[in-house]
Symmetry: D2
Subunit: 489 residues, 4 copies
């Protein structure tokens, strides 16, 4: 059978973006947003996921036959149904992450996946009076058939943390339904920070929290083109201009995670793109499904980052000629501490897969306790790992002379002796490694990475709540066990 592939080239993806109506504001309105260096770097990350899908070396990993359409599609747009697919998905994310640190494209896939499970539950609990699941399947088919990489917007601006949406003075602190007509709804509000939102054609919106009856106008999920009437997108965060030098690491010069804020100003959402609308008890279910799936995705990129750190630690130890790279030296203790974390997070990933359950919708759901705990420990340890790298590398990374001097006829010979360390390694290679370490551990970009590791995918408190919520049976067994053990002699 001749299976048709639906795989866009990265050129086609970029062309689609450029064809959209501009609505991105940085310091000012950008007429040609994809000429902006930072936004371009973000787009490059997503482009790689298109390129790899066509690259014979990665194609098997990056693509899959869609059970929905029978066509070969990008794996990010597929809804996993088996443990093998879960494994392949994580391997795909790991592979991309070792190139780009954050593959970003998971957010869209995870949003579709969460809606696939959630709408099925919702319809069934409604005894099929609603047909959200069918709408979602239609939308999924549209995404697959056009090989679109959507973003998913979950976090609201949230306003005063001590008040629910209905009591906020500023109504736009939460995305909410303003008005409903027979054709659809009108929504307003702020979602921020939204990964990939600046370089996507479609934005999926999910509720960010649980909502009570009185906040039910915030219990809304939908999808919409990112240039729809009334949408504004704002580029967030500092410029990362320091990463452009000749000796900069490849990553910094090509790739970046440029976050965006999406503001909805009375945006019309047609009926067929609405997946939740006022069923407030399902807001938390949708939010938690996405959180679990997205934290599961982290179990691939985090080991990638810890592996990058392990390799970096090994390399700086080799370049500096500090002894005992592998065995029980002071140095090997430090490398071990970083590597350990890669192993632990990998084990959480394997276990989340091993204990995964197929849901009624047919989609598989990784184990929530292992998924959340894996993300939790990966975040918890990150500052220590960064600190170890800062420690091992000495003070050179933040005290490099300017790169232009290295190849200067006049100053090069004066500056080079600074890099006289282990023989056989050029001054330029010493420079590059130290510059890489600076970028990774002590720069604006390092700051993004550190904040991302803490607050991306929800903060640690949210993960604890999810773990407790999914552990009631196991924890109550622990208590029973001890009770019997002690009291029932």
């Amino acid at each position: 059978m001749d299976k048709k592939e639906i795989l866009k080239t990265s050129k086609e993806y970029e062309a689609s973006l450029k064809a959209m109506k501009p609505n991105i504001i940085k310091d000012k309105f950008l007429e040609n947003p994809y000429d902006d260096e930072d936004i371009q770097k973000g787009m490059n990350v997503v482009s790689l996921s298109y390129d790899y899908a066509q690259d014979p070396k990665h194609k098997d990993l990056m693509t899959i036959e869609s059970p929905l359409t029978g066509k070969i599609i990008n794996r990010f747009n597929n809804i996993p149904t088996t443990k093998e697919e879960l494994s392949a998905r994580l391997k795909m994310i790991y592979t991309l992450s070792t190139e780009v640190t954050c593959a970003q494209r998971c957010v869209g896939g995870d949003g579709l996946w969460a809606l696939f499970i959630g709408t099925d539950q919702l319809d069934k609990s409604n005894k099929s009076k609603t047909n959200y699941h069918q709408r979602l399947i239609n939308y999924l088919r549209y995404i697959q058939d056009n090989d679109i990489a959507p973003a998913t917007a979950v976090t609201d601006a949230k306003g005063d943390r001590s008040l629910p949406p209905s009591e906020q003075e500023e109504k736009n602190s939460y995305v909410h339904v303003e008005k409903e007509t027979k054709d659809g709804i009108y929504v307003s509000g702020i979602k921020t920070p939204i990964t990939m939102s600046l370089y996507t054609e479609e934005i999926i919106v999910l509720p960010g929290l649980q909502y009570s009856e009185s906040d039910k106008n915030c219990a809304v999920a939908f999808a919409i083109p990112s240039d729809a009437e009334g949408i504004e997108r704002y580029a967030l965060g500092p410029d990362v201009t320091s990463l452009c030098g000749e000796f900069c690491p490849a990553h910094g010069t090509k790739y970046l995670n440029k976050e965006g804020m999406v503001i909805f100003n009375n945006v019309f959402i047609p009926k067929e793109r609405i997946f939740l609308n006022g069923e407030h008890r399902f807001a938390a279910i949708f939010a938690n499904l996405f959180a679990t799936l997205h934290r599961f995705s982290y179990l691939a990129c985090k080991p990638a980052i810890y592996d990058i750190m392990t390799g970096t630690a090994m390399l700086i130890s080799e370049f500096n000629g500090t002894k005992g790279e592998y065995f029980l030296s002071n140095t090997s203790e430090k490398i071990f501490e970083i590597y350990k974390q890669s192993i632990i997070v990998s084990a959480m990933a394997k276990s989340a897969i091993e204990a995964a359950q197929v849901t009624e919708s047919g989609a598989i759901l990784p184990d929530p306790v292992y998924s959340n705990m894996g993300k939790y420990v990966a975040s918890e340890y990150f500052p220590t790992a960064i600190s170890i790298l800062q420690d091992m590398s000495g003070n050179l990374p933040t005290n490099l002379p300017y790169p232009e001097l290295l190849r200067s006829e006049k100053y090069g010979p004066h500056v080079s002796p600074l890099f006289a360390r282990k023989k056989g390694i050029s001054s330029e290679d010493h420079y590059k490694l130290n510059e890489w370490i600076r970028v990774f551990t002590a720069s604006n970009e390092a700051g993004l990475l550190q904040y991302g590791s803490k607050h991306g995918g929800g903060n640690v408190e949210a993960e604890k709540v999810a773990i407790y919520g999914n552990s009631l049976r196991r924890m109550s067994q622990c208590k029973k066990m001890v009770k019997k053990f002690i009291l029932d002699k």
Copy 2:
């Protein structure tokens, strides 16, 4: 087909022990060692593994059909060949450990398993000039056919840590071959501390380290009845007499891990029970196989202990009426910290199984990196978990009045108000829980548990070496990845 079961009762096991020639010394020579309270408690632990094998509730878990004999045997004496058997083995150890903390009987099974794989490798590397593997199979059949629970002795006394065996002034610091005849070998030396050695019929001896050519008389492995001519066994550690009170936890009054020192005084080992004899390059292989398998076993008992601690933390929080047992309170943070560790170690177990490899011998080998790392993190965190329990329980556990008073007509009513805390819980139950916490966190027995968690199964340095040794390929990929990333622009 009518399968024959070979499953001794615990009575039969105990009778076998009592029928042996006494050779146990405590403060003095014990004519009837199994009348000694502490040794009896140790024996009770092993008895439980016999009882459960006959208990319909646990039988499926505790037994398996031996591929060697076709008979139903205790699972501890089976050599695992599949991932399912690895899972069942850990579940068995977990189940026993929730009763007895340390199931102890794993050591014997792990010794047989290590020898099964190791002797096969050795014979093959010798192009079958040796037949150690066949000898081991014969011995395994003997163990299975008689449902024996052997001990495995690995750790030598070791003497001056800075010198190899051949340079030790005290030759008995290492078990070594004194003399060889055509019928067998004569061995001397000290193995200590040896779990289960005081209440077993058979002792399996493995080398404890790598040995060079000049120490090859220490590269010896064999099995021998524990009352063989020339063997002395010494009971080690303090008496644990404080655990006998009326309100003591069940565990303390019934079960104990009573370690022994085994001294070999020119003991004759017949040829057919020798599994290594001078092939010094295989000493480290045998030692490492045992270490990996035994650390894998820890991945079942450690979650059991962390689950016991989780349950204890939940219970003391409930009894003391401190608020917020489950959600984001100070108390729930503490419970979470303990529970987290149970999840992490369980994930390492799942991953060690998932990545296990079948060896040429037919036996399966759990993944060494996950096995060692799991034991490593379980040990590393233990003091923190104990400290959290000590913190949560207040100062009552070490400041209880004497238990006799609780039921005293005169003093009971005076003492009871001390236990007036949450309503509906009797003074006696308060007493029991606090006494349990004292025993578990602040007693001679707690000391055994803490030292065991650090030094049992080899110390953390040994685990790091094993992890590094098995990670060379993965770590070198990490380095290559970063090198390419940074240097090959």
Copy 3:
């Protein structure tokens, strides 16, 4: 001028105890409580403070001329008025603590000191309508003139932690005034655990918490002979019988902190011994004064304990022959971690003295922030230090053969090779050091020490509250500084 000394001998102290009406209950009523081995060991600790005061080597440190009576008295019974006296007091406690771990006698002195400052404040706030301060001075004179070592009882049984005293079903959960007559008050209730209460002639009682108007019958402070009508004392905690062997450390065979529970059954307190009675706003002031002073005392015994641990770590490293005792080895890192804590706590002590303030009463008050923080960090680090010692010492401490064997003609030669480590150190010395480590880190007594380090002098939460309460000005300056820094450009 011929100054008269008032310094009892330890024999006289012990005789006073024995002359009192017995009211101590252990597992049963003790007719001769000071024949009880554990209670005797507690008494020995206090005896040492009498012996040292007469020992020329320590006399200058242990005694001082009382400004009240002009006589030479034990320093514990003096109210410090200068920084030099604070230094000498800590040096005294440090010196005793290096012998007995916990000097215990500080509690009485700290109680007098807290009342000295507190009653003065109370009378002044009452515009001298009360004369509590004069009563306290009279009592202080009585204590000094008879060289009595009083105990101070602060912590109540506390009942249900979520309810105030007035709402407790069990009224005895808090010591409270039952009735008042013109001659005095009648009190009932439980104080526990009370250090030194089993071997003292006098008990000082202070409120344990803040109390509101409705709980003002608990706002009571007084002093009373420990054998007064209606008082019962209960010995608490496990027997520590494992510490009596021939090779036991000196400490364990002589000294112990045996805590007691004191039950007041409608005990009459004569007017002149009442120092607070219903002035509920002063309950917290009295409790906090005592807490600060007592935590200040910890800044002497905690460095003593960390110094003992440092020395132990150095010794086991020397005995085991592990390399690199002093410089950058794995071992020296561990020793450093323990020693560091001794330095930090010593620095907190020096700073608490340097920032001390003389109160209106004439007594000096060590700085509350440094005092509380010093105790806090000393407690926080203790489990780590214990864990390091357990790690460094290997598994021998909990796996020693029975001590009787060492000198046995028959078994001694068999057992000795176990101790063949570094040359020139006898088996007995190896045994003693390892037994010491077991007692200190892995025994019933170690449990007492660990719980004491956490809950003695109030738990860590109480210390945080005290630190915050005394830091309002400093912390608000921090905030102002940043505000100006950021906002007022």
Copy 4:
């Protein structure tokens, strides 16, 4: 008596710099180095130390009468002789650091101070055959009489860490004497990174390590104008251009620590400015004196930084409206963890002063153990404190919209709702605080701060060696105490 003041204005200081021969290279040779924005910000820091000395509010703290000249000079150029002067010095550094984070000017004063003590010891050990101390006094007088702020250069490029200077292929890895004439010496080599070197008139050079006989040409100390023939200075580190926005914190827009590399190309040092020349045993003494004095200086700037962090944590908690700023909430726990460190480091400072010793030179020396340990713990804890701030502040700091939008008529109203949090705080103030947190915890500048906290003043290993070296007596007493305690029963 009319005391003459010698206090330059900051204008005069800046004029002196600009009058010097340019020799600073950044990406290219800078004809007018003080027009460079980053170098200018560095100069501003030093200027503040001149301004404050003339500011009536700070004059008493910033100045002192020189015992050498009888004139009022900047306190940084005075050699302390009393504990009061030590306290005042730290208070001065603390005050400046709360404005500029790193006061920088300590390095020069600490260099003079170290040489004052070291040369005196050297001359005395030489039985006054050398007159280095008199030379140093002459130089000190020159510095004081001209109110110069010198830099001190200690750290060499160091080359291959496993080889001593004499075996380095690259000789310039260490500053060394090339040639000696009757008038002076010629030196070559690299010192890097050198604080303040880019904006100073004078550079003091000290040996960075201990040197053996064969490396004695590196055992050299001297002072030289920073524009002397043969000196090149290189600006190090990344541009910090992201700190110039309208809502940037005051600090970032004015102040910076811009490090420099100083290359000596056969520079002539006249005899009277040489303070060590080949007396290799004194190289380590000079290096250690400087290290101790400079780490002592850190005991003022580190509490300043921890206080800034405490204030920041309090402010973000207030702005975000998260509950429980001061008492036992999740938030207060985090603030406490930061504030604790300020208290601990302050205590180390107080103790270093209290235990200081006057040297034979007349200069006072702060206690080396407390000085080194204070720096050690301040560094050790820094990553945790940063991580806490990153945690508390949520994800806004790295996800701010561009500042230009805030005051834009068109976009301001759209962007402002993002900052709707606690009432009464303007969007601009929210922006400023979050931008401050980004700069402080997640930017290029944050990277400099983090690396400085680790490697400034020598790394942690160097501090441990210094602590061990100065603790031999105390640690050996610990060992003796335990020995007696255990073995001498």
